[in-house]
């Protein structure tokens, strides 16, 4: 039922400073600048990242697309029965956000999940201002007070599958990638790691040295995630709880595989032995 991890909307205090981070550091293309929001492309989508300075949302919003309005109607009731907060998004707002229809949901822990249908793509290819080799929005890591309970709603109602687990954390996927969403135990309401797939280890390592030269705060990596086989580089975003991450392509998902349980220890988050400053991802508790 789930089609694509579609976008992430991040609440920010001001657009100006944060917009330049996304274009000049992350390597996205700034495409739309409205009064209270700025939008960025990473691939064929109209946008995959939005900065929201309207004050409407306190927590980040994760947008995931479904195929049809019928599916949206079908899950609306089921999600509500499982304890999610579900609201229909008015047509005018949908239009403004460049999709046909949507449900604004809050999961059991209060994470904002937007389920949308027919989100817009663009005919022209993405043309970012920095050659970071971004291929597209590929995955997000969000916090949860009870990852097992949250994951059950994703699997039972929305048809996601559990790819693997690390300690209490759960990797959720639904397509050819190892996972698209990782639910990690976190006490931080606004915790999010927005992940972009990059074309190769070469561009990821080039970003590593680019960041070191410019004193961009790398919080994790370069490292390699044992579960997905992805090489990663995670760095700080506009707010203390917001991070960005580059990822190489994951090992392809095989339906024949059983979910594995990785022990809750640093090695399970990085097989190269890189340091992590993110408590939720194998870092030392600060």
């Amino acid at each position: 039922m789930l089609e694509q991890l579609r976008f992430v909307r991040i609440p920010v205090p001001s657009l100006d400073a944060d917009s330049s981070i996304l274009a000049d550091i992350v390597g996205l293309e700034a495409v739309e600048r409205l009064k209270w929001c700025a939008r960025f492309r990473s691939d064929a989508r109209a946008y995959s990242l939005e900065l929201d300075a309207s004050g409407a949302a306190e927590r980040p919003v994760i947008g995931v697309s479904l195929r049809t309005v019928e599916q949206l109607n079908e899950v609306e009731r089921m999600l509500a029965e499982r304890g999610w907060g579900v609201e229909r998004i008015p047509a005018e707002i949908c239009r403004d956000r460049r999709y046909y229809a949507g449900l604004a949901c809050r999961d059991l822990g209060g994470n904002n999940i937007e389920l949308v249908v027919r989100a817009e793509d663009k005919s022209r290819r993405c043309f970012p201002s920095r050659d970071a080799g971004v291929v597209g929005l590929s995955q997000v890591t969000i916090g949860s007070r009870d990852p097992a309970a949250d994951a059950a709603v994703w699997t039972d109602v929305l048809g996601a599958r559990i790819a693997d687990r690390v300690g209490e954390a759960v990797y959720l996927g639904w397509d050819e990638a190892h996972h698209r969403i990782m639910l990690v135990p976190s006490a931080r309401d606004k915790f999010v790691v927005v992940g972009f797939e990059v074309e190769s280890i070469d561009v990821l390592m080039q970003s590593n040295y680019y960041f070191l030269d410019r004193q961009v705060g790398i919080v994790r990596g370069p490292g390699k995630e044992p579960a997905s086989g992805q090489v990663f580089l995670t760095f700080g975003g506009p707010s203390p709880d917001t991070y960005f991450s580059y990822w190489t392509k994951s090992d392809p998902w095989s339906g024949a595989r059983r979910p594995r349980q990785f022990a809750a220890m640093p090695d399970s988050y990085c097989s190269w032995g890189s340091a992590s400053a993110v408590t939720e991802l194998g870092g030392d508790a600060s």
Binding site: M205, Q206, Y209, P222, K224, G273
Partner: protein, 285 residues
């Protein structure tokens, strides 16, 4: 007659702190300690009986051994070097045994670096049992300091059979086989051994070793990075007595018929396409 070198075979190092160096070779570098003869400790990195050894002595007196193809090639090499005025010394039986070779000659190259040409480095039936899971697949190449790269390049490519694969500024990378390079001639105001390369199995090994080296406070002098010349992903670090060691993976192979040497500018991006900067005097100006 051209001296036909088949491959680099071994390095013989000297150190004032033999225990410390042996500790490094096994616990940090990850080699297998193979045998001990007198005050010399030998180590294995691959199928060969030994590819590195340490003995008590002056670190500047390192020796690099190369393999020649046949006894005839060895005799020809001795004659050629002799004609050119090099003082050639024949290895004794016991010296051959300690090197695990059938025969060898020793001489000093034009810059004064200690070189040996050896016959039939012995191999064992089993691969090296590494002291730790460093992923080492074998000893692969050396960097040699050169006070006169034109002179030394002439020796290695005209007197011997090395071919230039690429140049970074005045630093030629020389191949002896299809492997992109087996010798790097590093311009410097000294001669001798500049670095010792071991190949590892994968990029994971390079980065895992990098983490381990950092945990042990081993000075990282370059990398992790990737050479645009050979394509190899690498990390360089400092061992005992300031000797530089390298782990790398993915050195490209060269098609002798179609390959053309390239000239890269002498700049950081020519040494690392990822953006790492070398903390090695001769590679950073």
């Amino acid at each position: 007659m051209t001296i036909n070198i088949v491959d680099v075979a071994y390095v013989r190092l000297k150190t004032p702190d033999l225990d410390g160096a042996c500790e490094f070779a096994t616990r940090i570098l990850g080699l297998e300690r193979s045998d001990r003869a007198g005050d010399r400790h030998s180590f294995r990195s691959d199928q060969r009986m030994t590819t590195l050894s340490y003995e008590q002595g002056d670190p500047s007196q390192a020796t690099v051994g190369f393999e020649l193809a046949s006894g005839e090639a060895l005799e020809n090499a001795a004659a050629t070097l002799d004609t050119m005025g090099f003082a050639v010394r024949r290895g004794s039986r016991s010296e051959c045994e300690s090197r695990h070779v059938s025969d060898f000659i020793a001489f000093s190259d034009p810059g004064g670096g200690r070189i040996e040409f050896a016959l039939a480095p012995h191999v064992a039936g089993n691969a090296a049992r590494l002291s730790r899971d460093a992923g080492i697949t074998g000893f692969s190449h050396v960097g040699l300091f050169s006070q006169d790269t034109a002179r030394d390049q002439h020796f290695w490519t005209q007197v011997c059979n090395a071919r230039v694969s690429d140049r970074v500024g005045e630093l030629p990378l020389l191949r002896l086989s299809q492997i992109h390079h087996s010798i790097a001639l590093v311009p410097a105001n000294r001669s001798g051994l500049q670095h010792i390369n071991h190949q590892v199995g994968s990029i994971d090994d390079v980065l895992r070793n990098y983490s381990l080296l950092r945990q042990h406070n081993v000075p990282i002098v370059f990398g992790p990075g990737r050479h645009p010349t050979s394509g190899a992903r690498f990390v360089y670090f400092e061992g005992p007595d300031g000797m530089v060691f390298e782990y790398s993976v993915g050195v490209q192979e060269v098609d002798e018929e179609t390959y053309r040497e390239r000239q890269f500018g002498f700049e950081p991006a020519s040494l690392c396409m990822w953006g790492a900067k070398a903390a090695i005097k001769e590679l950073s100006n």
